[in-house]
Symmetry: C2
Subunit: 191 residues, 2 copies
């Protein structure tokens, strides 16, 4: 029999998960507290017993996303292209194993991009990896010949935005499988 503390923790997780699903499928602003409460079979009053506001709930999810999606970039590779291959493979593997992470990934992306995001929450969301970190790797790859020619930020951006677009779809519907990592890596690979 679970202790009260455990129960409370579980309940909190349930709320977070329900909110995450709704925030991803409808957007933060369009999600009503009653939607969340309904999904976890709970009165609105009780929900506020667990989280002091809708915004705090959002903030907590974004914090979770910050931890959960901090991909390890540290490691040495023979070639720049190996980094992209490894990175993408790992990411897709991770998302397939834990679709909840795909949802968190999308939540983070929206929190970063949307101008409706409360400033202090956006600041948290911005701390995750962005295209900037890919730029030097693209440059390295161009020097050694494994990455295609072109403006490094534009290449990095194309790669990262593609990943984001793919995640956005996968987060709400895992019926269509993620692509092979190589297909996406081919965006940056020199032919």
């Amino acid at each position: 029999m679970p202790t009260r503390k455990e129960q409370k923790e579980k309940r909190k997780q349930d709320i977070l998960y329900a909110a995450l699903e709704l925030f991803v499928s409808k957007g933060y602003a369009a999600t009503k507290i009653t939607d969340i409460a309904k999904r976890v079979n709970m009165s609105v009053g009780l929900l506020f017993h667990y989280f002091e506001s809708k915004e705090k709930l959002y903030e907590e999810l974004v914090r979770m996303g910050l931890e959960g999606t901090a991909y390890p970039v540290e490691q040495s590779y023979d070639h720049a292209i190996d980094f992209f291959a490894q990175f993408t493979t790992q990411l897709f593997l991770y998302m397939r194993q834990q679709p909840v992470m795909a949802k968190l990934f999308v939540l983070m992306a929206e929190a970063q991009r949307s101008e409706a995001t409360p400033e202090h929450i956006r600041e948290i969301a911005i701390q995750v990896n962005t295209i900037e970190q890919f730029v030097p790797i693209v440059q390295w790859g161009q020097r050694e010949g494994t990455i295609r020619e072109g403006d490094p930020p534009v290449i990095s951006n194309a790669f990262w935005c593609s990943i984001q677009g793919i995640m956005e779809q996968y987060a709400t519907n895992q019926a269509i499988d993620l692509p092979e990592a190589d297909w996406i890596v081919d965006i940056v690979r020199r032919r």
Copy 2:
């Protein structure tokens, strides 16, 4: 000197454009009528003189998107891969020339995906091209050897989602240029 009718039409366009920008940068739900009114220097009352509701405004934008983003798929190509190359090139060209279309593109995507979209609006948005139309072309290309092996819907999806992710970014920031069409076509191209 413009006639009153012309003035009215121009004003209506201004409102539509301001709403489009806001809907894309903050999302439909988070955009307030006062935000839109402010952006076009107009009282809220007057805005309602032009559009009977926020939802009707949204609906009209989605209708515009339906017309504006109906890409011509009809045409004959020697190879399936040529279709993808042509399609992507044309799309990027179009979006570069008229960034407003990139915004409309993203609005449509969100209207289709979000569960917060009013049903009758979603029905309109759904009429645009989706991955389904790429599937037979992928199959054709696999038979003739120009498209890579793999589940056709998964390949189509990867391609289309990448395009969407790229547009999503470009719609709000044209400072980072769109990639070369070929880079994205390489997602589906057989090596």
